[in-house]
């Protein structure tokens, strides 16, 4: 296990280095004078321009600038937001909990709905239930999240008045945004659970379980479910990145605080230190989560660990 963890960490390190280079490069790839571009949205005075120029020291060799960027980032110094004048790390710390809450709720909805739809479809292949759940899944995959979000607001807030449309605080304000992201995912999970279940149900050990007289419920829950879930765990891990992308849009639709909304506002305001900070933290978070998912399914399915160890 320890060897596997070491191997995965060794693979993640170059990626983390690459991410830091990309984030560092954002400001250097800007067309024209980067200081002027960075301040173009802020109506800056010449003094402010001079101050930022002195602060960023673009005249230094690029390697020196990168080393400085890395040294500061390692101790959590991601610069200061051009607009709010607050340290970027504080801005992020303010917004991160809201996004994590949204992501967790979305995953819960996705797994619950996706499992039920997928299993129902797999148990009666080619029945109307199967076709209906696959139709819902196709709809979910093809539905842009901002459009689904608006439909949910229209139905459950404006027409029925059951749930608040926007804002922060309490589970009632969490349901609609989480459902917007979660239902799209549920579609992916359902399709995967269906195909994985059908494959598992065709195995000889399922035939054996049935032959020894087990009730169908026991066959499904005890023998099929666990084995069918392995690819589902994988896909949830792979999809976490898209989930993060989902929060970018859904937080804007529902006017929720969070990393996604912070990223969009930063890009619209051309607040480059903030853009760099949000992108760095999001990408590193994604790398970390993928690492955890990899390790977690090596625990669920020991074959992965052994294969990794042998390689």
């Amino acid at each position: 296990m320890f060897v596997y963890l070491q191997q995965r960490l060794a693979l993640a390190l170059p990626v983390v280095f690459g991410v830091s280079v990309v984030v560092f490069a954002i400001v250097h790839l800007l067309p024209g004078d980067p200081v002027l571009v960075m301040l173009s949205g802020a109506n800056a005075t010449p003094e402010q321009v001079a101050e930022l120029r002195a602060q960023l020291r673009f005249e230094d060799p690029i390697a020196v600038q990168y080393a400085r960027f890395l040294r500061r980032a390692l101790v959590g110094d991601l610069g200061v937001s051009i607009f709010s004048k607050r340290p970027v790390i504080e801005e992020i710390a303010d917004q991160l909990p809201s996004t994590l809450e949204l992501a967790a709720a979305a995953i819960a909805i996705a797994v619950a709905v996706g499992l039920v739809l997928g299993i129902l479809a797999a148990l009666r292949p080619n029945s109307w239930l199967d076709r209906l759940s696959m139709l819902v899944a196709l709809g979910g995959i093809s539905m842009p999240s901002f459009w689904l979000g608006l439909l949910l607001i229209f139905a459950f807030s404006l027409e029925l008045g059951w749930l608040p449309a926007t804002g922060q605080g309490g589970w009632r304000r969490l349901i609609l945004p989480a459902a917007t992201i979660g239902l799209g995912y549920a579609a992916v999970v359902a399709r995967l659970v269906r195909s994985s279940f059908l494959e598992v149900l065709g195995n000889a050990y399922i035939g054996t379980a049935r032959a020894k007289g087990l009730a169908e419920r026991a066959v499904v829950l005890k023998h099929a479910l666990g084995n069918a879930l392995i690819p589902v765990v994988t896909i949830i891990g792979v999809q976490l990145g898209n989930l993060l992308a989902g929060t970018i849009i859904v937080e804007t639709v529902f006017s929720r605080r969070g990393m996604g909304r912070l990223a969009v506002t930063a890009v619209l305001d051309k607040d480059y230190p903030l853009i760099q900070g949000v992108v760095l933290v999001s990408a590193l978070g994604y790398v970390l989560v993928n690492l955890l998912v990899d390790v977690s399914y090596s625990i669920i399915d020991p074959r992965i660990r052994h294969r990794g160890g042998a390689a």
């Binding site: 990309v22 439909l151 992916v188 990145g241 898209n242 992308a245 890009v267 992108v279």
Partner: protein, 280 residues
């Protein structure tokens, strides 16, 4: 390939998807020839009119005809989707073929770059590209295209690695074929099936990501008709004019469903192994 076309034709879902796509593309190309009014023409007397015979999709808060805007907007939304896939395909083919065929340190270098790109979820990567290039429809297209390159590189490289071990490639090499010639004339044609499938399904992804960026205000500016822009415009009028968002919303969804129907069937016909990839 003709067998594939025949098989596609036999599947109702693909025919339906193809027909819808043909209609959408036809309307986008014909554009002004089929619309009755100017998509930018305001008429405040008719502002927020619900769907009716004279305005089948209703009008927005400035009295502009939604149907006209949806048809005109199709052009920009489709061009963004298709353009992004062309960029992703070009980048993916270039890097994937070189990486898979050359091997060694070139392969290692390209794959590490792809790993880093993969560390950014596609919308975030697209956001980074827009942050550098600035707003606008062309930049959104480039951003979406760049964000899809890693997926194409991985698929193409993986297939090149399989094909290059085949006996006929060895034969081509033994006959003295130069690496570039072997790659382009012998490897490339044999990896096209999965690439076509991915490219088709990626059109659906690009339309959604492109419209998302426009919705967030990073794409073309109003009053330019574009599905994402128009959908965003209707956000504040959900109660008094739900139809403002409904027109472009239904247009995006119908087009994406149609592309997915064609793509799914193409995958089943051309390369069922891709099932795991296109399920995403």
């Amino acid at each position: 390939m003709t067998a594939a076309v025949r098989l596609l034709w036999r599947r109702k879902a693909a025919v339906l998807g193809g027909a819808i796509l043909a209609l959408v593309v036809g309307l986008a190309v014909a554009g002004p020839a089929v619309t009755r009014t100017d998509p930018l023409k305001m008429n405040l007397l008719k502002a927020l009119s619900p769907p009716s015979a004279s305005h089948p999709f209703g009008t927005d808060q400035y009295g502009r005809d939604i149907l006209t805007r949806v048809i005109t907007g199709a052009r920009l939304s489709l061009v963004t989707g298709l353009g992004a896939v062309v960029i992703a395909l070009a980048g993916g083919l270039g890097l994937g073929l070189v990486s898979g065929a050359a091997g060694g340190w070139i392969d290692l270098l390209i794959m590490r770059i792809v790993d880093v790109m993969m560390a950014f979820p596609s919308v975030l990567l697209a956001l980074v590209v827009v942050a550098v290039l600035g707003h606008g429809s062309t930049n959104v297209m480039v951003a979406v295209g760049v964000s899809l390159i890693p997926t194409f590189v991985r698929l193409i490289r993986g297939n090149v690695l399989v094909v290059r071990e085949q006996a006929y490639i060895e034969a081509a090499r033994a006959l003295g074929g130069r690496p570039r010639r072997v790659t382009l004339q012998h490897i490339l044609p044999n990896i096209l099936a999965p690439v076509i499938v991915l490219a088709t399904i990626a059109i659906a992804w690009s339309i959604i990501i492109g419209a998302s960026l426009s919705f967030l205000g990073l794409g073309p500016r109003p009053p330019i008709p574009e599905w994402g822009v128009d959908l965003s415009n209707g956000r504040n009028y959900l109660l008094r004019g739900w139809w403002i968002s409904a027109g472009p919303g239904v247009a995006i969804m119908t087009t994406v469903v149609a592309v997915n129907l064609v793509g799914d069937t193409l995958r089943d016909v051309l390369d069922p192994r891709l099932r795991s990839l296109t399920n995403l």
